[in-house]
C-alpha cells in the first residue's frame, strides 16, 4: 500500500477523500520535516482515515511572502492554491505546519477559499476521541520528563494550546512547562520569514534563548508542533552540544510508536 495517494488519484477512482493532508514546503522538502510527513501518513493509514495529498499540485501557501510584505506574491500563490482546492471540492484540511494552518484557516477565506482546517494535533485528538487510535498502556514516553514548545502560529495566533498538551497527557509523560508557555510562549525565531534570512544584529539568537529555557526544565526530550520550530530548537540544542542527549520530537512522532 502506498503511503499517501493524491487527490487526483482519488478522483480518477471516482472517490473523494475524507480529508486533505496539506504537506507544506517544509514537510515536502526539509529532510527532518519529511520524516514528520511520513509519520503522519502512517498514523492516518493506521487509523483508517481516507486522506489525500495534492502532490505536485500543492504550492507554498504564501505565508513567508505575506509576512515579508510581498502581498503580490502571496495573492498569486494563494489564488492558485484556492483554484486547485476548489476544483477538487476540498472541504477539510489537516496540516502539520502551523504557518500553513494559519493561512489556510484564516487568510484564504477572504480570497474565496473556505475550508475546515485542523492542525494535526487537533486531528489526532479527534481520532483518539472516536476510538480510531488507541495509545498503548505504558508506552515509551510514560513518566518521561518532557517539555513542550508552543509555536506562535498554533498558540497565540490561533489560541490552540490544549490539543497538543492533551496528546502528551495521553502519552502519560511528565510534562514540565517552560518559564514562558502558552499565551506567553517565546518564539523559536523562525516566524515572519526570519527562516529565510540571517538575524538582525543583536547579542543572541532567538532559538538559543528558547533552547536555554527548554534546558532549564531539564527534559529528556522536547515536544513541538511546527517544522520550523523543530529546526530552530534542534539547531539550538546542537549549539549547546545537547542534541545527542535531548531529541526534539513532533508530537506525531511520539504517538506513532505507541499506538495499539
Amino acid at each position: 500500500m502506498t503511503l499517501a495517494k493524491t487527490i487526483a488519484e482519488y478522483q480518477s477512482e471516482g472517490r473523494s477523500p475524507e480529508i486533505l493532508f496539506w504537506v507544506g514546503c517544509a514537510g515536502s522538502f526539509d529532510t527532518r520535516a519529511q520524516r514528520i510527513t511520513r509519520t503522519l501518513c502512517e498514523i492516518l493509514n493506521h487509523a483508517g482515515v481516507e486522506f489525500a495529498i495534492l502532490g505536485s499540485e500543492e504550492r507554498c501557501t504564501g505565508d513567508p511572502a505575506r509576512r515579508a510584505g510581498n502581498e503580490f506574491l502571496f495573492q498569486m500563490t494563494a489564488a492558485m492554491n484556492i483554484e486547485t482546492l476548489n476544483m477538487y471540492g476540498v472541504q477539510k484540511i489537516v496540516t502539520a505546519c502551523p504557518h500553513c494552518f494559519n493561512v489556510l484557516k484564516n487568510e484564504y477565506t477572504a480570497l474565496g477559499g473556505n475550508y475546515e482546517v485542523v492542525h494535526h494535533t487537533q486531528l489526532l485528538n479527534e481520532l483518539f476521541a472516536s476510538g480510531k487510535l488507541k495509545i498503548k498502556e505504558g508506552g515509551s514516553f510514560k513518566g518521561q520528563r518532557i517539555t513542550y514548545h508552543d509555536s506562535c502560529y498554533l498558540g497565540r495566533a490561533n489560541d490552540v494550546y490544549e490539543a497538543p498538551r492533551a496528546l502528551l497527557e495521553a502519552l502519560d509523560v511528565d510534562l514540565v512547562e517552560m518559564k514562558r508557555s502558552r499565551k506567553n510562549g517565546l518564539c523559536c525565531g523562525a516566524g515572519g520569514a526570519q527562516m529565510w534570512k540571517e538575524d538582525e544584529p543583536g547579542n543572541k539568537r532567538i532559538n538559543i534563548e528558547r533552547t536555554e529555557e527548554a534546558l532549564d526544565t531539564n527534559p529528556t526530550a522536547v515536544a513541538a508542533n511546527c517544522p520550523f520550530c523543530i529546526t530552530m530548537l534542534q539547531d539550538g540544542l546542537k549549539a549547546k552540544e545537547k542534541n545527542e542527549q535531548i531529541p526534539v520530537f513532533d508530537l506525531s512522532e511520539m504517538i506513532l510508536n505507541n499506538l495499539v
Binding site: S28, F29, R156, C187, G192
Partner: protein, 435 residues
C-alpha cells in the same frame, strides 16, 4: 470672591484641556478611514474585562496590585472631587456632609484608605522607575521626555494625595476645636489620626490656611493633570476604553487582506475582468506615514502608556535586536504629533501635506526586519494595542512600494513564484514518500 476665582480657573482649565483633546482627536484622524465593527458583546467584554477590569495587568501580580490601588483611588476620588466642585462654585464647605451623615464619613474614609494605598503604590512606582533597575524602564526609547513624563505623573499623584490629607487633617483638628464653619463630619479613617499628629500643635489661623491650601492644591493639581493629560502617555486612563472597544476580534494570526492587490492579481491571472474605465496606475501600497495607517493604529499609539510589556516580551528585543514594539508605538504617535502640529500651523489640507519625512525616518528597516510576527507584543499589551499590524504595513511599503527589503528574501520570493515552493528545490514535491 473665591467662587469667582474658582469658576474662572475651572473654565480656563477645561478650555485649555479641551484644546489638547481636540488635537489628539484630529491627529488620530490623520489616519485612513476604517470601519471597525463586529460582535458587540465581545467588544463590551473587552472594555469591561480588559480596560475596566485590567485583566491583562494581572499577568504580573505585583505591578497589577499597585496599579489597581492608584486606579481605584483615582476613580473613587472623583466623588470627593464632585464635592470640591460644588463647594468651589457655591462657596459652601463640605456640602454633602450634613445630608449624608454617617455615609459621608464612610465614603471619605474609604477614599482616604485608598489614597494611602495609592501613595504607597506611587512611591513603589517611583522606586521601580528610578532606583530598581526594572529592565523595561531602562530602554533607550524612554530617555528624556518619556522618563520625565512618567515621573511627572507620579509626582502629581503624590501632590493630589498630599492635598487631600492637608485638607482633611486640618479640618479634623478645627472640628474638634469647634471652630465655626467646620462642622463635625465624624472621624475619617486616616485624617482622624493623621490630622492631630501633624497639625495638632498649630493655631486656628494656621490650620485654616492649611485646610484651604490643601483644598486648592488638590483642585489645581486636578486641573493641571487634565491640561497635561493630552500631552502625556498618561492619556491611557481615557483611551484604554475606546481602544479596547475598537480592538480587532479576529484571530491574531490573521493579516489584513489587501483587496486592491487581490483584484490586480486576479485580473493578471485571468480570473477576473478589469472594470471598464478603471485607472491603471497603482496606488502606494503599505504604510510609510500616519496618512497610510488606519486611524486605529494611531489611536493605539495615543493609548500607549509606554509600560514596555510588549518590548519585554519581544523575542527580538530580548536577544538584543534594535526592534522595540513600544518604540514603534511611540514613533507613530510622535510622527502624528509632528504632522498634526505642522498642519495646524500651515492650515494645509492633509492630502497635500509633504515635509520630506516619513515614519521610515523614525522606524528603520533594521527594526522592521527583526520582527518574527510572533504576536507576543500584541498578547502582552494591557490595553490591546497591536504594534505588529504597523510593522507589517511598513514591511509591505518597503517591499511593494520601495522595492527594497532584505536581499536574502529574494531567493525565497523567486522560488515561490517560479517553483511554488519556499525553497528552490530540484526534487519533486512528493519525493518525501520515498524517504
Amino acid at each position: 470672591m473665591s467662587s469667582i476665582v474658582f469658576v474662572l480657573v475651572a473654565l480656563t482649565a477645561f478650555a485649555w484641556a479641551g484644546k489638547g483633546f481636540l488635537r489628539v482627536w484630529n491627529n488620530v484622524h490623520l489616519g485612513k478611514k476604517e470601519t471597525i465593527d463586529g460582535d458587540r458583546s465581545a467588544r463590551w467584554n473587552n472594555v469591561l474585562l480588559v480596560a475596566l477590569g485590567q485583566k491583562k495587568m494581572f499577568k504580573n501580580w505585583i505591578p497589577a496590585v499597585l496599579h489597581l490601588f492608584i486606579y481605584v483611588a483615582f476613580v473613587i476620588t472623583q466623588v470627593e472631587l464632585l464635592e470640591i466642585f460644588v463647594d468651589g462654585i457655591f462657596g459652601t464647605h463640605r456640602f454633602f456632609a450634613p445630608m449624608l451623615g454617617g455615609f459621608y464619613t464612610f465614603a471619605i474614609s474609604f477614599i482616604e484608605i485608598l489614597s494611602v494605598l495609592a501613595f504607597v503604590a506611587t512611591i513603589a512606582f517611583l522606586m521601580r522607575r528610578n532606583v530598581l533597575n526594572v529592565p523595561r524602564f531602562q530602554k533607550p526609547e524612554l530617555k528624556g521626555f518619556p522618563a520625565r513624563d512618567a515621573n511627572t505623573i507620579l509626582l502629581l499623584e503624590i501632590t493630589l494625595i498630599v492635598g487631600i490629607f492637608c485638607m482633611n487633617g486640618a479640618d479634623k483638628v478645627l472640628q474638634t476645636r469647634g471652630v465655626e464653619h467646620f462642622h463635625p463630619t465624624g472621624a475619617f479613617a486616616v485624617s482622624a489620626w493623621l490630622g492631630p499628629t501633624l497639625f495638632g500643635s498649630l493655631g486656628d489661623n494656621a490650620l485654616m490656611f492649611i485646610e484651604r491650601f490643601g483644598w486648592w492644591l488638590h483642585i489645581l493639581t486636578v486641573f493641571g493633570f487634565l491640561v497635561y493629560l493630552p500631552y502625556s502617555k498618561h492619556l491611557h486612563i481615557l483611551l484604554a476604553f475606546p481602544n479596547t472597544w475598537y480592538a480587532r476580534l479576529k484571530p491574531k494570526g490573521q493579516m489584513e487582506n489587501m483587496p486592491e492587490i487581490q483584484k490586480e492579481v486576479r485580473i493578471m491571472m485571468g480570473l477576473e475582468q478589469p472594470e471598464a474605465g478603471a485607472s491603471s496606475d497603482l496606488p502606494e501600497f503599505g504604510a510609510n506615514d500616519v496618512f497610510s495607517l488606519s486611524w486605529k493604529n494611531i489611536l493605539d499609539a495615543y493609548s500607549c502608556t509606554e509600560c514596555g510589556r510588549c518590548t519585554a516580551a519581544c523575542p527580538a528585543n530580548l536577544t538584543g535586536k534594535k526592534l522595540s514594539p513600544r518604540k514603534v508605538m511611540m514613533d507613530v504617535r510622535d510622527r502624528a504629533e509632528e504632522v498634526g502640529a505642522a498642519l495646524a500651523a500651515s492650515k494645509e489640507n492633509k492630502a497635500d501635506y509633504q515635509d520630506g519625512k516619513s515614519l521610515f525616518d523614525r522606524i528603520t528597516p533594521e527594526e522592521l526586519h527583526a520582527c518574527t510576527t510572533c504576536n507576543a507584543c500584541v498578547e502582552a499589551c494591557p490595553v490591546l494595542i497591536n504594534p505588529l499590524d504597523i510593522i507589517l504595513q511598513m514591511r509591505r511599503h518597503e517591499i511593494l512600494t520601495q522595492s527594497a527589503g532584505p536581499a536574502e528574501w529574494l531567493p525565497m520570493f523567486n522560488a515561490i513564484e517560479n517553483a511554488g515552493a519556499a525553497w528552490a528545490m530540484s526534487t519533486e514535491r512528493d519525493a518525501w514518500k520515498e524517504g
